[in-house]
Amino acid sequence: MARASADRHKLLVTVVAWGVALAIFFPILWTVLTSFKTEAAAVAIPPQFLFFDWTTENYAEVWARTDYLHHFTNSVVISLGSSLMGLLVAIPAAWAMAFSPTRGTRGVLMWMLSTKMLPAVGVLVPIYLLCKRAGLLDTRTALVIVLMLSNLPIMVWMLFTYFKEIPRDILEAARMDGATLRYELLYILAPMALPGIASTLLLNVILAWNESFWTLNLTAASTGPLTAFIASFSAPEGLFYAKLSAASTLAIAPIVVLGWLSQKQLVRGLTFGAVK
């Protein structure tokens, strides 16, 4: 009796939850569906949900008419480049603060977070002009540097929370066991720190991939990453829903899949370990 009612309850929750989840996911689903329609079918009233003539011509056309691959490469270089360079600076900093904390450590961490609260518009003009003067406007180099700097506080924070969880006992045990510095780093610390470093990298790649202030302001369409590429579709060109959908699907697919794989780390990472 109780069992049956519990089952019925679970079924009800399942139906409601799936309904809500599909509603939230619907814009993405609709975009993907539309990308396989003809332009006429894309704007048909009433809308066609599943029963339409599936076509891949939009993808072919986006591929042929635009330089998708070029923008995709830009996105990869910029997000990966800025994240890797960020790691190079953030790892030692987080390491020092996690393993040799001083009275100032908390202050330094909070200060770093506060730089992230500095609105980008406050420095838009000088950064734009500096890049212009240095001939870096509309280059990937400029974006790699700027995104690296703007995400650096988050990287340091994330790494710090991961490193802090490495038990000091283990470092002491390794010292008692006679591990040299090289060994301590390579065989004890690296294996324990790597998962945290990997999550940090992953999350920052996602953040940088979707970053849409600097990528839109420091590039023209030609060297822009996918964010700028998609923004160039904002000017209406008549019947273009299907092609817009195809381009959008191409732009978000890699990172959405990456996001699915990293959703657990996302919580820890973006809340700086405050929520577990």
Partner: protein
């Protein structure tokens, strides 16, 4: 080996990050300040003269400024309200046993990974368009007038678009927090005769206070600088109805080429953000520490 643990090495390891961030913060900010005191037009480089606070007077007395300030706050507050309330509801729902929980989670979290330009364009064209959008079709089905969302209620439309992107974040964090809630506490409250509403108010909500504070802090950081969504949908219009501070400064600088008053706007934005930041960090600073 002891050297990895001593203060000098630690400072050496810390310094690149600190120096980079200091430079990243101080140099452009100093330049912004300097420009803000000069009449600097990008297209007329010769007119570069000291004008004192004239740019500030110009920027602050511009009616667009007050409108953009109000819009910025309305956007932040609106998105926060939707995402926190919706996030709590969704988290409570997803925390219950169900079939296919993993897939449901994946579906719900997905919007967070969609780049702002894509989500804004998809919403603008395929949902909010008064002729071809799904909303227009729905209105027609129910016999109502189709709304031109971005023209008639631009700020509300933007709030919906941005909130859609951030709802997964709030949900995911609150769900994670819920899952760490001690089941025995709930059972103890049940034994004490608390009904499900009382349990939510007295057990669940206090447990969520800290994650909610974290959600507010993190989202505010990002919401203050919403930009791409405005750029590809309304361009701040109609009029200035959907211009926020970030977009206003952008349009002064890169559309009107008035570096001086854009810089003044930048300084104002920094000051306002700092006021908010101090308030927020006070609120959650202790929570974030450990």
């Amino acid at each position: 080996m002891a050297s990895t643990h001593n203060g000098a090495t630690a400072r050496l390891m810390l310094s690149p990050a600190v120096v980079l961030l200091l430079v990243w913060m101080a140099v452009p900010l100093a330049m912004t300040l300097w420009y803000s005191l000069h009449d600097y037009q990008l297209l007329m480089p010769r007119g570069n003269e000291f004008v004192g606070l004239e740019n500030y007077v110009y920027f602050l007395t511009d009616p667009a400024f007050f409108q953009s300030l109000a819009n910025t706050l309305a956007l932040v507050m609106g998105v926060l309200t939707i995402t926190v309330a919706g996030g709590i509801g969704l988290a409570l729902l997803l925390d219950r046993p169900m079939y296919g929980q993993g897939i449901v989670r994946v579906l719900v979290v997905s919007p967070f990974f969609v780049m702002p330009t894509v989500s804004a364009l998809v919403w603008k064209n395929m949902f909010m368009n008064p002729v071809n959008g799904l909303f227009a079709w729905l209105a027609q089905v129910f016999g109502m007038r189709a709304i031109d969302w971005l023209a008639e209620v631009p700020l509300l439309s933007l709030t919906i678009i941005v909130a859609w992107g951030w709802l997964p974040f709030a949900t995911l964090i609150l769900l994670t927090a819920l899952q760490s809630l001690d089941a025995e506490q709930q059972e103890a409250a049940k034994m004490d005769g608390a009904n499900s509403f009382a349990r939510f108010v007295h057990i669940t909500l206090p447990h969520l206070a800290r994650p909610i504070a974290v959600v507010i802090l993190i989202q505010t950081i990002f919401l203050l600088s919403v930009f791409a969504e405005i750029l590809v949908t309304t361009n701040g219009g109609p009029g200035n109805q959907s211009t926020n501070l970030a977009y206003l400064v952008y349009s002064q600088a890169l559309l009107r080429f008035d570096v001086g008053s854009a810089s003044a706007g930048g300084v104002v934005a920094v000051v306002l953000a700092n006021i908010l930041a101090i308030f927020l960090m006070r609120l959650v600073g202790k929570n974030l520490e450990s």
